[in-house]
Amino acid sequence: MSLRHTTHRLRGAALGAVLALSLSTTLAACGGDSSASGASGGDATLKWASSYFPTHWDPVVSGSGAQFRQLALVYASLTRTDKDGKAVPDLAESWDYNAAGDQVTFHLRKGLKFTDGTPVDGTAIKDAIERAQKQKNSALFGDLTSIKTVTADGLDVVLDLSQVDYQIPQLLGERVLQVASPRAAADPEKLDQAPIGAGPFTITQLVPGTKAVLEKNPDYWDAKNIHIDKVELVSAPDASTVVNGLKTGVYNFADLDPSQAGAAKKAGLDVFVQPGFNASNISINVNKKPFTDPKVVDAVRYAVDRQEFVDKLTFGYGAVTDQPFPKEYVAYDPQSEDPYPYDPEKAKQLLTEAGYKQGQVKLDLVIPAATPEAEIVQSQLGAVGIKVNIKVDKNWATPFFAKDLTLSLYGTTGRDSAVQTLTAHFGPDGPLNLSTPYEPAGFEAAVAKVRQTPLDAADYPQVLQAATRAGLKSGALVFTYSSPNLFTKTKKISDLTPIPGHVDWTGVTIGDD
């Protein structure tokens, strides 16, 4: 009996020793790895886990959505925006308008090259603009309707406009004119998976949908202010794993879901909000029943309790909004604040006036992925007698952009040009206007007036806000809440410049642990 006990004890001790040995070997290996990476020439590596990993790397196909931030690692643009949201030089070091305001000339920096050696000149810019206007699968052509012709003249590029439009420098920034090498862009399908630009980094490895490895581009015009040697961009696997990824050193920078902010703070990570123009909305198709009746549209407007979205989805980081702009932004129209306050009784009454009994209006809310936001919409509309069936459709983008849906949800990250934001939402061909070709009365004239007004004119804010007011008459959109541009990083990464809507790596340093 005692012999058996001794044998068991010996076995236990041996097993423990083996486990301890393998554990210490593993830990040593991990430690060895990290010290090795730290010692490999002192490379400053950004390890970015992003929930917006680009599907397309051709900027013309990728469009103006949130993924432009990742594409901006590779591509420089004609202009960029500063922390006040104003257009400042990027590839173009300056620009000037003619007296009439219908022609603008951009002057490019000297001696720049794309990473494939092609010179950055007027021809390259002309090619980029015309490709965005004409390429079959372009997501940008609707934003460039003011540009009639483009003429290249050495390092100058002249844009003749179809209308007076002082928004052009604001427009041709990172969201609309990231410039690809014309040689690479000759084969757009190849460019889409092997991007070549003149931006701060160049891609060395790309696993579609999963991972991109980039190295600093020494020929970038502002390379002296880029202090990051290497970028590993990965698609964030799941919101709940991001914080652990940062804690264990797999990442050192990540987009953060508000629900994870508390965990990130507890883990000693920096949690910060970049300013932006995020606004979520309920998209309505007024060309389809029952929304052909404006009373049903109004019923939805009155049924929405915006505060519930903020309370349940943003964990203290968001705000209610009834416009596609934050309150502090110049385009926000104070006169249009809260025109349809939460009033479920009025919503019910409007439905009755429209001839619908409780529960008689039945709608499919078609969305690309199940979200708590959709469940809140379902619950709020259900409370006034509109029965909503949530339908998750992985191919949602096709019917949404073809304007075939009756009810959906969308969230914008904004645009650098306020006019682009307005036309995208309220314009007759706006990609975010589910009711194409519908547009609210007076909108087109109001927008034209904004285009004609120089951005530094004294009356620019009033003119812009009038256009916002005209757009908000649209029944196609009910804005709900603004989610934050929330990020987390390890403390060794220095603070980013708070440029609205952007993630700019200029001047950012990555120190030692």
């Binding site: 799941d238 994870q260 199940a370 469940e375 809140i376 459709d393 992985k394």
Partner: protein, 299 residues
């Protein structure tokens, strides 16, 4: 067979748990103390008398959602098992009797189905036919069916080559009569084992799919869906995934335990095993009584 299964403690535990889960599926939505879809301002609340398992991210009662979600989860796993049984068992038995062409064809088909990854196929089918659990489980059932095909074929082969079956056929018995009279009785125990096991597998598949948000449209609750949503709020409710995870685990464990028990008690060997256990227990009881009698005398 049922009596033999229940004669073992493992069988009683497995059946007891599965009956409990079945009752949850049947009565869960009725028993739910609150409306499982009703949202409130009390989000991510802790456990309390009014909310036994707290509330979720929209302020809905988690206990009620767990009860309400049991039906979908159980029915879907049963669907997998029954479809697999229907599609696999009958061709498995017939492959022994319906000639070489049928045998060769069904064997190759079974090999093909085994090679296909059922989870991926279920995802693909929901993408093609719409996001519904019924169609996903139907396809999964077909892909799992080779298990039943092979089990029933192996058992039938063993029976078909026995002398008493050959004697029956020489005496003029038809294939149908042989299958009904001799084959069924021999094939049923292994099929019952496979069925119990497949219910467990089906549960894992259903939970995996609903965890990924496939098959069920929100806000309908499922155990897998609850588990997935809980993981997003671990910082607020680190204990929340326990309840759905334990339920899933218990159901799968009970199914496997039942399969093991059926295996242990089926056939002549099983009958002998049960008899032996009963004898051992009787002897043990008798010695206990003797011991009690002796100690009583001493007292």
């Amino acid at each position: 067979m049922v009596r033999r299964v229940l004669s073992l403690p493992s069988g009683r535990i497995a059946v007891g748990l599965l009956v409990l889960i079945a009752l949850l599926a049947a009565l869960g939505p009725v028993l739910a103390p609150q409306d499982p879809l009703a949202t409130s301002d009390n989000t991510l609340a802790s456990v309390s008398w009014s909310h036994w398992l707290g509330t979720d991210y929209l302020g809905r009662d988690t206990f009620s959602r767990l009860l309400d979600g049991s039906r979908v989860s159980v029915l879907a796993s049963l669907e997998v098992a029954l479809v697999a049984l229907g599609v696999g068992a009958v061709p498995g038995i017939l492959s022994v009797y319906l000639g070489r062409v049928f045998e060769w064809g069904t064997l190759r088909l079974a090999d093909t189905l085994v090679a296909l990854p059922f989870l991926l196929f279920a995802v693909a089918v929901t993408a093609l036919l719409g996001n519904g659990l019924t169609q996903a489980m139907l396809v999964t059932g077909v892909l799992v069916s080779p298990l039943f095909y092979r089990v029933s074929r192996a058992a039938t082969l063993a029976v078909a080559r026995s002398q008493y079956v050959e004697a029956a056929i020489i005496s003029g018995a038809s294939v149908g009569w042989v299958v009904r009279r001799h084959v069924w009785a021999k094939v049923l125990p292994p099929i019952a084992i496979a069925l119990a096991q497949t219910i467990g597998v089906g549960f894992i598949i259903v939970s995996s799919l609903t965890f990924l948000g496939i098959g069920v449209q929100p806000p309908a609750p499922t155990w897998g869906g609850l588990l997935a949503s809980d993981l997003g709020y671990l910082d607020y409710q680190p204990w929340a995934p326990l309840a759905p995870a334990i339920l899933i685990m218990l159901t799968v464990w009970a199914s496997n335990l039942l399969a093991d028990t059926i295996r242990d008690v089926s056939g002549e060997a099983g009958r002998a095993f049960v008899t032996h256990r009963r004898d051992v227990r009787s002897a043990h009881d008798a010695s206990d009584q003797n011991a009690t009698a002796h100690s009583g005398g001493a007292r």
